[in-house]
């Protein structure tokens, strides 16, 4: 049986709505109109123990709502959720003892307390046996390089330092499952790398199941074997990123530097994306015209100095995917 099972999950919020202006405000005093907002519509997926899954999707897609339901904070409107055999919102106390959660935009540490005091308090809250707690804490402190920060109050930490402390805080009770809601948001590059490295080690070495939401495509590239794309509350894709890429934007990019002025090329199935004075960037589908054949075709006719082939950047794949599903806000019509 999978560790996380989600079937036909739906969550509808009721939002009060009023007409703009003073007249609308006055009318709203007497008669309020409610509009249902469907945050999640019929979402189903499952996750085996030890998997690492990334949830991606535009803002407001329902990623965070899913994490909040899975972690037991919110109740769904309908559908079935089981995590480790428990229904999170029915059996909240037993459920939350077995999971760790990090919200990138909130802090679970006590603002005025030194980090280490916050850890002690969490150990008491989760009833972690003292000897085990010390061992666990020292391990996490070493892995996350928190030693020099332990005596500092949380409010004095930089965001990157705080996030490292947040990860330790979420793991002191040794949970089997870790939920991460935008864990790298706002972090600088080295901190992002540190977070990714830590999450990967946790997943590979400790077998912790990880479910993360993110907007950072490099998180996805670095971490996730499996990606779920969610948009307007619906599940749009579920699988390895490579298959998503193949389904959306199979094309590759060929950059060519010529010895002389760039020639005009007219090859079937190949489009020129960017043309420079002495270079070209071509887009092509390797299924229609194999890469070696294309290079050979050009190199035999023109004096080529250098070539390299790229896949489409992950951001572009995702943007195209959102466009295909009409998910981009304010995007120009294609």
């Amino acid at each position: 049986m999978p560790q996380i099972l989600v079937e036909a999950l739906a969550k509808t919020y009721r939002v009060a709505e009023r007409a703009p202006g003073l007249a609308g405000a006055l009318r709203g005093l007497v008669w309020r109109q409610w509009r249902p907002v469907h945050a999640l519509v019929d979402v189903s997926f499952s996750l085996e123990a030890g998997e690492l899954l990334a949830f991606i999707g535009p803002n407001g897609a329902g990623k965070s709502t899913t994490v909040k339901i899975l972690s037991g904070i919110l109740r769904p409107s309908s559908g079935r959720v089981e995590v480790g055999g428990l229904v999170p919102y029915e059996d909240r106390i037993r459920h939350v003892a077995r999971i760790g959660v990090v919200f990138g935009q909130r802090s679970q540490l006590w603002w005025d307390l030194p980090i280490v005091d916050g850890f002690d308090l969490l150990a008491d809250i989760y009833r972690v046996e003292p000897a085990r707690y010390r061992q666990r804490r020292d391990e996490l402190v070493a892995m996350l390089r928190l030693e020099p920060l332990l005596a500092q109050p949380v409010r004095q930490l930089s965001l990157g330092q705080r996030m490292r402390a947040e990860f330790a805080a979420a793991l002191l009770h040794d949970p089997d499952i870790l939920f991460l809601d935008e864990p790298t948001i706002g972090l600088d590059a080295p901190s992002k790398l540190a977070v990714r490295d830590f999450v990967r080690r946790l997943n590979r070495e400790r077998g912790v199941t990880v479910l993360l939401t993110t907007h950072d495509m490099q998180d996805v590239e670095a971490l996730a074997e499996r990606v779920i794309v969610i948009g307007q509350g619906r599940l749009l894709a579920d699988g390895p990123f490579a298959s998503l890429r193949a389904g959306v934007l199979a094309e590759r990019r060929l950059h060519i530097d010529f010895a002389g002025p760039a020639p005009t090329l007219d090859l079937p199935g190949v489009t020129v994306r960017v043309g420079g004075e002495r270079s070209l960037e071509l887009a092509f589908d390797p299924a229609k015209i194999p890469t070696p054949k294309l290079i050979a075709a050009i190199a035999t006719q023109h004096a080529v100095e250098d070539v390299h082939v790229d896949e489409v950047a992950i951001e572009e794949v995702i943007t195209r995917f959102y466009e295909l599903h009409a998910l981009t806000e304010g995007a120009p019509e294609a």
Binding site: I73, L74, I93, Q108, D124
Partner: protein, 275 residues
Amino acid sequence: MLPAARPYLAAFRARFQLMLQYRTAALAGFATQCWWGGIKIMVLAAFYAANEAAAPISLRDAVTYVWLGQALLALLPWLVDPEVSQAVRTGGVGYDRLRPLDAYGYWYARTLGWMLARALPRALLMMLAAGIVLPLAGLGAWAWQPPAGLVAALLFVISFALMVALATAILMLANIVVAASLNERGVNAVLAPMVIVFSGQLLPLNFFPESVQTMLHLQPFAGLVDIPFRIYFADLAGAVAVQSLALQAAWTVVLIGVGRVAMERVMRRLEMQGS
């Protein structure tokens, strides 16, 4: 230490220790409460000078009542726990839901820690000022007197414990309303005058007209000030004192019960907006 109680004790202790750091607030509170105490005593003295026979308690007891009230003002549930209002506004409530704890118990322990830590330094300073400095300065008639006797002292200890438990239960109800309405101002605006009048903080409840006495004694806020303080100087003694303790305990149990049900309902429809 009971393993079941460990998280709640830890939450209480953390809040208590943290709040004790705020020395300036404690000193400012003490100064304000001295000032108001002085004014209230002068007003009472004027009443007593006009018609002492009409007063239900002696001036000496009334003065002690005022000092006790000023010393323990921070134990009155007239201000919603700011940590709860902040958690509600920032969404920190979500993290509270992630703790493997009874949600009501967790908040109760924290609110209790907050109240006691605010009250402790102010009460000690007030005891020093009104109980020791005033008599030494030759103003013994206006001083905070010790309890009426050993029995009164023991009964007061019990009544004081119940007063704290009851105050926290009332504050929890206010916290829950804040969690439901997402704003603490309205709750504070309604709570403060109600608590100050009906607890007897403004005026001992037996100064009110005879016809409303029974009702005033039976309502829950009486257990916050009027009952414990009148037990202190044995205005409530013997069977009446025991019955009053039972009343305090009963209201505490009832309000905790109501709070638990209300909290469960509010948390069920909790929404955590944004990301």
